[in-house]
Symmetry: D2
């Protein structure tokens, strides 16, 4: 059985695991007051080209989204997002749990568009009843999106300008950021992201860490008492140095990007293999999530030896599916998939 | 200047006001433990044909929706609604304030459809990732809807069946219920509503009271400690008898329905006048809210002597507007509107 | 039967009721955008000696506390209060419902002490683990307190200084403010309150209005989008002018203070009567709530013709009770109480 | 420098770490649907003597408390706790963040007493104003408590009976449970806990795991959709098997108890050493947290080579401090402390 279900099926990159073992019996202060966390913060800020910024290390993506968005919004404000946004679909209402509405605006392939956003804001405030509505206080985007797509530099500049002209914050969910940064198609670099977003997170869980996400901002003054907010959200790891050790390792020797590059390389081979076997793409994704439309019969047969995810409920005759690669995917695994697909035709 | 902006511009029906004056210096226990409240409850349950039910009197619509929905849902559940639902648009996030997502499903003219609802539920639970999503615990409908439209008996039976087959509650926002019950077009009576919905409210504020909404249920066992929940929502009136006196009066001598009948009669005359002057309806509404599309120039001119509401932001050349009648609208007011429209053409 | 249970057993002062009747059929814009509300705001700001302030009119006390405190605090902050504070005891958790902890510090007779507050704050921030705790963002006091006691000018100056030195807001719950302002013992005037508190409310419900509380601040910049916050809390009255009419009337012809003066005068007569009959005070209260300790047997007998409240659960042999007077209490009622007490001894 | 600050300064027990390394490159389904998690659940239920129970693995203590308590309470209910309870002091308001009040009742040495609890409940419901208050829905205890103390079997039976007679749930925070179970003084075993509490958690973070807490219940029907609630609280680990691997290891070969025994053995040696040097205990603790009162001067000197925690803010001349041992504390560390204390007297 080979697995392409998702990018959180293995543990951590061996280099990360080794460092955890190596430091295991050290005694350090709790809650991120250790030197590894300080070193990780410095490495990440350097990577992002931020001089006076701040990094906080949290445990998982939903938790990070809920904590950052809650910290950024006034009680009565909402967060603007695409309909497909993770916060709108797959976080069991963690944003609403803190009292905030997810305000959905039209999107395409998981991406928000600057012009549509601007029109929404204009329309919102030109409706005289807006004080009875939920005012937007932040825009949430993901990069790569939940559909594997990427923002270009121009697109992010556009969104950032609309947000800042309107006085609302821009937040990027980078759960799979390694895959965006490793993309040769993308002209959007980490320093652009650090400059254009008010806050974003660099995903660890899906990009080589055991677990962990690094929240980064070049505007720490926007986040007073963020430590307390993390604690209140149940998101403060007692042994914070576990996150410090991991992120310090990921941001040494270019390890984070290496992981992303492997995921992309294998994703593109996988796509070629699938296309060659006649399966068309459901979405045109330049990253490590690849979506195809498969006849239900093929889904059933292939599932005997290959695991992957249905993308939504099973439809009548054919259904979209998702294959995901990661830092550890091997050529052998793609070869086996190829052979399994050959066998399907026998 | 004549006013058709909304149905909460005047005070209360004179009969209601008289009773408040008459009882003003009486001393009664607070928080609804008075005899007027008990009499109002009895009158309302009789009106609804409910034997072992319960009525709670609250102050306003948003408050009532927030309180009832919060009382009905488990912490992690959401409430299904049309995109145009008051709870989704015009309550400043009062539902999310209690931690609950408003789950929007496709709707038409403000109405939810049983089949679409059933498909949504089927699709939701056949998606294997649903435990990461917000499970629906209640369906919210308004009758009349925010667009003035009405459910038929068959439609409500359909929705009720889908809800109860799925084990979720059905709630009707009756802010303007008098106008639905007074409609001769409608085959949906109050006893049907009381039988098909788990809980609903009979609107007072827009239907003859100074303020107040009566929450009604034939299943009081679904709402343990509702008094405490009302208090927690800041929705408990100290002098609860003010609500008791009003609702007792509204449900004596058929007053509630009389108010609705006047509103409808005047609304239909108003629609005729508008149509006769060449303004087409934006929505086909059988109740006291009438929607038309007006050239922006006419909007501007007419506004000098007649007040009404833009329905959304002002558009480029013509814009939807809303005219509203109520229990106190007079034929003279419609006549004046007619004359003003004549003058517009001069 | 005569009633001293509480100060919300009657309707409104006749002058207030008359104005509501007089204006009943006028049509005005909703949600406080009417001229009566504007006039009430002006009258109240004048009364408070505030030049550039803001007044918002809400419906009830718990609602007002929840709305103001939620608007004032960051999501993770708490509000400091006495153990006996209404927000800590009798609001069904309305403060926690918005996510905020009520932080109890030692108090005496319902009052917070500046020095104890200062020591609490000092101790809090000198505990190195404070970022794991709930930081105070506001101090809540009531005046008169829940036990009928009053702050002196010096006491309020002390508390205000501690708050502002620490950068936290000071809020006064004035549910019964008329009784404080009417007190000849008190050296704390409304202009002092307006200067020393960041925000406070002038109670209407218990001081002559049908219902309603006026939130007042001389620092409106502290409360951006407060209208939306009111709506979100379900605290926005559709026919806002009902509140405007009432408060405009209460703050014309000194009516508000006249009501307070009557309540105090009758409270002191009542206290004399009770003392003369041998019942000692449970708390020494200079306002309209008077507390006595009564043998349980006397409670039972007296209750046949006089209603009043047990102050807490019934104890073994004697139990504290509360008698309350208001703007409408008459000398005849005190006389009857006197006679009933005489009869008790027969 | 030697460290006695707390029991979360090191990583995991070597056996746990080895298993994480060994399983690192395996691919398993996410979110706890893996075989290690299933095996851990079985091992834990066996350990607890539960037949038809359920175990959920979460990441940290505050998160676990917030999730379990939120899942157990109706929206308007509160949780009863000692003043010193972790949820009341050191969780940054995580309980209130879900809308629930922490209801403090008198306690001694961190422990709740059955009789005091019963009196509180009796007094609460005999106060006629209780529907305006926050009704208790759960009792929270910690074992060992935050002060290192332990409940006896008789004490827990008493509390459990009071809770269940009153229809409210009993929850035990077992962040340091290994230290309680390893105590020879204690007559309260894990099967008693499983029988007397409705839900409890077995702490991993402070007892040998890298991180993780195991929520256990013999009454899974009390927790419908708990998976979704975990997700909503941001408490669902993507690579859930990391928790499964750890807990499976901890509950093999008696490892969990071995860790507790080492912690206790070293704690008692430490206490002897401290007492021998003339420092009296601040609290009489039978577990791995030991509290002493030290002159401020000694605190300062000793801190040069030994780290430990101040217990609250620094007082005038002497201050309570806390020393903590764990599964990994060695005799050499105690010896060094002894020598350092000798040197203090030189």
């Amino acid at each position: 059985m080979i697995h392409f279900d998702c990018d959180y099926m293995k543990g951590a990159m061996p280099e990360v695991m080794n460092k955890l073992v190596e430091t295991n019996m050290l005694q350090t202060p709790g809650y991120g007051a250790d030197r590894f966390t300080a070193e990780a913060e410095k490495a990440i800020l350097d990577f992002c080209g931020i001089t006076d910024g701040k990094v906080w290390l949290l445990e998982g993506g939903t938790q990070t989204n809920a904590t950052v968005i809650d910290a950024s919004l006034a009680s009565y404000q909402g967060v603007v997002a695409a309909e497909t946004a993770h916060i709108n679909v797959h976080e069991s209402g963690a944003i609403e749990a803190s009292g905030h509405k997810v305000i959905v605006i039209p999107s395409k392939d998981g991406k928000i568009d600057a012009e549509i956003l601007q029109n929404f804001l204009k329309s919102f405030y030109s409706d005289s009843t807006w004080p009875h509505m939920v005012p937007p206080g932040m825009v949430y985007i993901s990069h790569p999106t939940e559909l594997g797509t990427l923002y270009s530099l121009a697109e992010l500049e556009g969104i950032s300008k609309v947000c800042h002209d309107a006085g609302i914050a821009l937040y990027m969910d980078g759960a799979r950021l390694a895959n965006a940064l490793a993309s040769e198609e993308s002209d959007l670099g980490i320093t652009d992201i650090a400059r254009l977003c008010d806050v974003f997170y660099i995903g660890g869980t899906k990009c080589g860490a055991l677990f962990g996400e690094a929240v980064v901002t070049a505007k720490p003054e926007m986040f007073p008492n963020f430590f307390t907010i993390i604690k209140r959200h149940g998101a403060l790891l007692a042994k914070g140095r576990l996150l410090g050790v991991q992120f310090k390792t990921l941001f040494s020797d270019n390890l984070y990007l290496k992981g992303g590059r492997n995921a992309l390389e294998k994703a593109f081979r996988l796509r070629d293999v699938m296309n060659r076997h006649g399966y068309r793409c459901f979405i045109d994704s330049p990253t490590n999530q690849q979506f195809f439309i498969l006849p239900n019969e093929d889904i059933k047969k292939l599932s005997a030896n290959v695991s992957f995810e249905l993308w939504g409920p099973m439809l009548d005759s054919e259904t979209p599916v998702r294959f995901v690669t990661d830092w550890g995917t091997t050529d052998e695994e793609i070869d086996i998939l190829d052979q399994e697909l050959d066998r399907l035709r026998e």
